[in-house]
Subunit: 156 residues, 2 copies
DNA sequence: AAAGATTGAGAGGTCAATCTTA
DNA sequence: TAAGATTGACCTCTCAATCTTT
């Protein structure tokens, strides 16, 4: 008799790695969010949007391209997030001339300034809660290993 | 002149590790949530609650203890999550006799069955999207390294 | 007054339906 | 008909206020 659907046995090192992975993510991001908030700055999701625009040619991205960059949120959620960031004057929408169905999000000068205010706080959080606990070799290992996890998970 | 507040320079391996860490978390948890949902099962947060109760002596935990176990949610959020799980019959609240301010969440038989239905799907997701991409040595490294991140981040 | 837990108000997210243009 | 993007309805979380008991 063939067993078609058996529960995988995940051995200890893998299960241990998974648990630490989940806990570390929750702990570090919570702490960084709290530090941004204490500094009177918006959440990490804003940083992701502003930074994606900053990197892009012309400081602008189609809404769909922006959604692909901000990996923690879906398209409708992004649409509302862009609403809020636009209302705060940190970006503006611009109709796409080459395809009138679409629009661009364009970083404003104020948005670029906000990005420069957020980075020191964000960077300090990454350093203190994450990087300071790793050696250079360990960081390289984590990058390589989780990079592989990442590629695998997206390959669908 | 003393520089009191300089932006940390985070060198490449650390920044790379941080980016892969965030992306891997988003990718893997999204995929597992989608698989649970496709199987007609509730989200990971339910699993965390049910599993915490299952492990506990008497299959029961004070609400506050439960909140400490479920690290991705705050106390008021947990209160509402417990409402929903209770409404589904997977746990019940019970007044604490030794301290009448408090209450217990107690796993029901139905809750234990749900846990046993969720685990195969969850485990398959961990295996396929995470564990299969790691060697045993790499898993041990991730556990050790992120365990250190974790301890550090919580030590406040 | 403080601790355990819940609740009202509001912020931010999802899914499916919708609108506009291609 | 499909693609880009937004919207309506609804769900879940947070913060601060609240209720009960210590």
């Amino acid at each position: 008799m063939v067993q078609t659907q058996q529960t995988p046995q995940i051995s200890e090192p893998f299960l241990g790695a998974w648990k630490e992975f989940l806990n570390a993510h929750a702990a570090v991001t919570d702490r960084i969010e709290a530090e941004l908030s204490s500094a009177g700055l918006p959440p990490l999701a804003w940083y992701d949007v502003l930074w994606a625009l900053y990197r892009a040619p012309g400081r602008r991205l189609r809404i769909g391209e922006l959604a692909d960059e901000v990996v923690t949120i879906g398209r409708s959620g992004l649409s509302r997030l862009v609403d809020r960031i636009e209302a705060a004057g940190m970006l503006r929408r611009e109709a796409a001339r080459e395809d009138r169905r679409g629009s661009y999000a364009v970083l404003t000068a104020q948005g670029a300034r906000l990005l420069r205010k957020m980075w020191p706080v964000y960077a300090a959080g990454i350093e203190q809660h994450f990087a300071d606990r790793l050696s250079v070799d360990e960081a390289a290992s984590v990058e390589r290993i989780l990079g592989r996890v990442n590629t695998a998970a997206r390959a669908y």
